[in-house]
Symmetry: C2
Subunit: 456 residues, 2 copies
Amino acid sequence: MSKSVGGTKILLEERDIPTRWYNIQADMPNPLQPPLNPATKQPAGPQDLSPIFPMELIKQEVSTDRWVEIPDEVRELYRLWRPAPLYRARRLEQALDTPARIYYKYEGTSPAGSHKLNTALPQAYYNKQAGIKRLATETGAGQWGSALSIACSFFALECQVYMVKVSYNQKPYRRLFMETYGASVVASPSNLTVAGRHILAEHPDSPGSLGIAISEAVEDAATRDDTNYSLGSVLNHVLLHQTVIGLEAKTQLEKVDDYPDVVIGCCGGGSNFGGLSFPFLHDVFTQGRKVRVIAAEPTACPTLTRGKFAYDFGDTAKLTPMMMMYTLGHDFMPAGIHAGGLRYHGDSPLVSQLYHDGFIEARAYNQKDVFAAAVLFARHEGILPAPESAHAIKGAFEEALAAKEAGEARTILFGLSGHGHFDLSAYEAYLTGMMEDVPYADEDLARSMANLPEIK
Amino acid sequence: MSKSVGGTKILLEERDIPTRWYNIQADMPNPLQPPLNPATKQPAGPQDLSPIFPMELIKQEVSTDRWVEIPDEVRELYRLWRPAPLYRARRLEQALDTPARIYYKYEGTSPAGSHKLNTALPQAYYNKQAGIKRLATETGAGQWGSALSIACSFFALECQVYMVKVSYNQKPYRRLFMETYGASVVASPSNLTVAGRHILAEHPDSPGSLGIAISEAVEDAATRDDTNYSLGSVLNHVLLHQTVIGLEAKTQLEKVDDYPDVVIGCCGGGSNFGGLSFPFLHDVFTQGRKVRVIAAEPTACPTLTRGKFAYDFGDTAKLTPMMMMYTLGHDFMPAGIHAGGLRYHGDSPLVSQLYHDGFIEARAYNQKDVFAAAVLFARHEGILPAPESAHAIKGAFEEALAAKEAGEARTILFGLSGHGHFDLSAYEAYLTGMMEDVPYADEDLARSMANLPEIK
């Protein structure tokens, strides 16, 4: 079939679903700085986290064991859609006229439509095991809320979602999706929490933000005995669970006797990016392999490319522990770009440390260029990408053209973290020429960066 | 893992993608009645079809060869998502407390979101081979238009979609989906055709219907040399292409040493239903196996359960050949139920003949019962079903409860033809108690049935 130009899917058997998650804390050259209690600014211990997280997840958060066993119950649910397909993008290679081999790992076959279910399931599982009855969380674009709603329906947990108000109003289908699985969804800022009421009193028309919604969900969990908090990105245990992505991709590439020269993921909080790339960084750390790893982010929220490596809060109300991370400041308010999942002011401490230490590169893209890449991808590969994932596509295009320029048959792997079925209004804006590029204003960035907390 | 309650996915290798489609015309006890030229009412020959179809598809339409080779180029594109998964619905079995084993074949992992791409690809391929530059088609709910748009983008064909006006207005995301792949989409009735202008002159506010949209697309294709017509259901070659569904499902059940006592599919034009069930009817005809085959349809458009087996037109403007089929009359206007893909007045001649001859059973369901089944399914299996597919879920529930009543561990296979990501307004109507059951009015049915053409 050498004349064929169709895509090639590299499949695995169910027995190839990983049995263990990979914990990069075992291998990274410089360990993480500890999170700090937001009041005392002293290192936070398990007792700081236990009001809102079950002990098993707290243990995973601080573990330096290289491998963490995946519970049978979680692995069984992974089988609903895992192993996820890895594609060789042959049609795209032809369109780009590149000697590069382009592969993408597609997480959109999950019933939630993205990689988020990889961590929603274990989080729901460990909370259920700990006797918790209800989970509170935030969601921006809705990918994470959708995943946690499904996970909670599987484990018979109540699910309370604080959805950033602007998304709540713009994306009714995302809200309806969560409600179909039984979740309660409220627009944030809401009247359900002190944090929400405080914001509404000052700014009745606040469009909300991820930072505000996190404050609400954390407060909800901290003030109810039956409730814990669940976060869809940023934290170590979240990235740990997502390593099933990269572990499978490695096995799939082995099947076709290939290995990436460069690995590219979109990066907001960092869970998709870390999940894909960490198993390859493992080879860098333990076998001295050379792999370039690239994080793709929006110019409108350029956390890695323009942020500062510093301690900062995870939320607006300063309820979360302070974390050492690349940040634009906890009150940075990014423009309303269509990749809502990449609009977080901070980045995972793990990704941040590795970027700081030079193991990761970062690139920022304008959304019009990102959508141009998304449409070209859809027309050649068939799949409609999520706007977040399209940042990785744009990065792959750049690398494919660089390979062409160099005349080298490089191997490129990128993560297609989800489908764009709920993002068609964004495609409409692009196709009708109504899409604007909305980079941050330099003065806004300077202001929020000046608000970083002081740590002695 | 016997304690496990997770779903079990039965996977195949890419080499298990069928190499041949199954043609039930080789085995059915009573052959089809020929289609009739709408003007002369004499049997239609290839010359009646060649203005709008390529010769390869016309040959398939009338072939009685049992197996038809799938072109390499088509099979290569099938590999984008095929083999499609077969699931054992263990969590659902537990929820229904049934001794039955319930399996479902899921076609929603196709980039178009439904089974429709199975035939869109070969139709685009054969038209491209025949030198055609442009395809015209109709779409109701949008599943078919989405699939043909993707197929046309792969084969660099222009794509003109006449979309039923009520759907065009209610489902902007479906329209945007097609446009993202480069299709031109117009609300039908439109000013682009004589048929459309005629309707608009009489009924400027016409909401459109599938029958009208077919008239427009057929006229478009018949009046332009570079353009052919493409239909997403009903015709023999369409059902032929869809047999990949049932062929794969048989192979998957063999892997777990099982075989269905009953096969259930939703049935509008019949392509999903025939694609799933015909390979099992093959065993009935050639090996004397006993398999019950059930077509699930809406009470609002009860073609099999209340229609008449008679010659009728496929469209409102009477441009298509007349076909011998179960029909409610070519001007029957079904209520605006949410399963838009099941709102066609007729049924595939193949399904109709086999139903007439007693090899198929049919059931009609109210949409509220259908959505109750869909929500229960989503909460236990994770996947959000399309409203059309949910009719098959409802049928499977009935059979599972019948098995419980009988105390028999029957094997049930149903087709989950697509996901419901573009149907969340329907779920909203159901969850908020705003959904109405809208059966046909007896007098409307009597009127349209009285309009059937007379054949001597």
